[in-house]
Subunit: 212 residues, 2 copies
DNA sequence: GTCTATACGCTGATAGAC
DNA sequence: GTCTATCAGCGTATAGAC
């Protein structure tokens, strides 16, 4: 026991230190306003180590991106595994995203603002990644089971999650002062009422739109 | 008449050429992956001119940002001036944003991805700018008149426009293949059903959310 | 694997002629 | 106002010792 003091701060592995330092710096200043030297200094490692582990700044950003994307995927899969209705799955995911925004702000910020063009040259955009496809599948299954109105899966998915994502943006930008979880009920309530299945399209569509 | 051939291509003023060139380049490669030399070459002007007009690359980005923000504000104000219900105003604005996304893709892309931290150091975030405040006021007025359910203005505004904004993102990322205007009806219909005024909060809220 | 010192290219910015 | 030529600094990446 005395040989291994569990209370002593265990030094994190090198690559982990690099990633966490990079995450904080990238979110705070933006990817292009952070130099490798900054990361090196913040993570208390040498430039050589960074190149050994990730091959450069882009490599760090990519590794960070895929690591977090993977975490997100696990979260989504865990919710899918649960015995819930598809609506409940959506609710739970939104709530967890709200919680993450409050407790792990930088993670959400990084993933939300990740501009693939800037460091993920040829990789597919995040919306076509596995976890996002899974989200759309939840909506699609909800449509099949009659929980959610039929329609274009993209449109429905955007309608289900769009409000919540918008709230997260507003919160990250500092214009919303209260924790997002305070607004969870209201967001969910507004959102689902538009998702009820319908037999025929509403009466007067297009009424007020400026289309000729 | 013959002295002024209207059909001949009138050379655009220098600053305009600079801004349009910068817009295209910034959207295509991202602000930090574009050098002044690139802009200079694309706009067929000299570096000196760019510095004379805008004082540098940041200056170009800022001028572009505020120019487009101003255009957006005029669009919003024009809709506010019209004799419409507040719901109709929201509809019309969403439709126009969809149209813009199809016809002036780069403008929407630039404004949507404008990271203020990167070149607008101390300026306020876009969501607290005048036109966005106007959007929220439309929603707020709708609440006062009973057209829209009462609630937190931020939440309601996010719920009204969140789905549409999400659609624009998906379209810009290339995952939605059809013009957004094709989906307009569906987006509008899904969205408004959650906005109907209610007296009492729905019965079983919080039912399925993972909150303790 | 980790580190330091160094080299090279690019980019933002300026000076000065026209 | 517009242009060209040039500079200075930064940031990536590498080489080579430990």
């Amino acid at each position: 026991m005395p040989y291994l003091d569990k209370t002593a701060p265990v030094p994190e592995p090198v690559d982990c230190r690099i990633l966490t330092a990079a995450l904080d710096l990238f979110v705070e200043r933006g990817f292009h306003n952070v130099s490798i030297h900054d990361v090196q200094k913040e993570a208390n490692v040498s430039i050589g180590s960074i190149y050994n582990h990730f091959g450069g700044k882009e490599g760090v950003a990519k590794a960070l991106y895929y690591h977090l994307l993977n975490e997100f995927e696990e979260m989504v899969n865990a919710v899918i595994e649960e015995d819930l209705s598809n609506r409940e799955r959506c609710n739970k995911l939104i709530y967890q995203l709200f919680e993450y925004t409050e407790t792990r702000r930088n993670i959400i910020s990084y993933m939300l603002h990740a501009k693939h063009r800037e460091f993920l040259s040829d990789e597919p955009p995040i919306c076509s990644s596995t976890p996002f496809t899974a989200l759309r599948n939840i909506v699609r299954n909800g449509m099949k089971k009659g929980e959610i109105r039929a329609g274009d899966p993209w449109v429905l998915a955007a309608s289900v999650f769009g409000g919540a994502i918008r709230m997260i943006h507003l919160r990250l930008d500092g214009v919303i002062q209260e924790p997002l979880t305070d607004h969870y009920d209201e967001v969910i309530e507004c959102m689902w009422q538009g998702m009820n299945p319908v037999e025929a399209p509403a009466a007067q569509r297009k009424q007020a739109a400026g289309q000729q």
